[in-house]
Symmetry: C2
Subunit: 169 residues, 2 copies
């Protein structure tokens, strides 16, 4: 089961692609960020996010995607810009027929690191251990995306890799 | 100059395509809604919005698009869902190289109907007059989209149909 984890943001969207074969055999196929420099118009940022996700789908043909759930930040404007990024990304996934499962950031951290308040460094260290790679190989902004992918993988494993999953968004 | 006006929403996105040749010669090429039934998952709604916008671009090859600007509603959740719809739509426009100009709903109504607080019915009546068609031919949910398109057309005419326009989003 190939899972694409996505931690969306207009300027820096983290992604992680993992391959879960059994509970003990899982690999990182790719991880990184889709970044947009400050000052780039939102329309161009959204175009690049959408195109980046499509490239990942073409390269890895994921069975499903796990994306950070919408949450209500302190700053409404920031939350709305983040929602635009989510919209462009989810549309690209849906167009390719990739089912999308949302997880709250705390839930993803709790189920993969053991605590919902883990720092990026802690999440990175745990991902390195879980996937047997060096922490230096994981870009900082991709750690949460890997945790999202792994979180969904654990849910899928618990469900016997069947479709006993919560309905996609 | 062909302008695609869009009044986005996850369940019912209004659109209007107008052709402005001179300040006195303007036509509605198409107007209508992209609707999603209640209960349809957001991912499917976004896929349909994105696909619908692409179909309109293919059919009318608009020079630019005018979209309702993000505004902060009373309900944060609703505002965030609306932002997702905007994100999917703006990404589809940007991918096709269509520049996107945002206008606040009040600004669009004020510049086309004369008052920022005009009702849907008033906007519809004014659009019918301006474009010389029967009000019955304009779906209710497309009136604001037509006003958005016309608002941008007026800005473009004032600027001598040149690119002396505010920068696109």
């Amino acid at each position: 089961m190939i899972i694409l984890g996505i931690d969306p943001a207009i300027r820096c969207t983290g992604y992680g692609v993992i391959d879960i074969r059994t509970p003990d055999e899982m690999y990182i196929l790719d991880c990184g960020v889709i970044s947009n420099k400050p000052g780039v118009p939102h329309s161009e940022c959204l175009r690049r996010l959408s195109g980046g996700i499509r490239e990942l789908i073409a390269a890895f043909n994921p069975d499903c995607a796990s994306i950070e759930d919408a949450f209500f930040g302190k700053n409404i404007k920031t939350s709305m810009i983040l929602s635009m990024a989510r919209g462009a990304i989810i549309a690209a996934l849906a167009e390719a027929g990739v089912p999308v499962y949302p997880y709250a950031p705390r839930k993803a951290k709790r189920s993969t690191v053991g605590t919902g308040t883990a720092s990026k460094t802690q999440v990175g260290a745990m991902m390195a251990v879980r996937f047997g790679i060096s922490v230096a190989e994981i870009p900082d902004d991709a750690t949460d995306a890997l945790a999202l992918a792994l979180c969904h993988g654990q849910v899928a494993i618990t469900a016997g890799m069947e479709c006993l999953l919560p309905p996609p968004v």
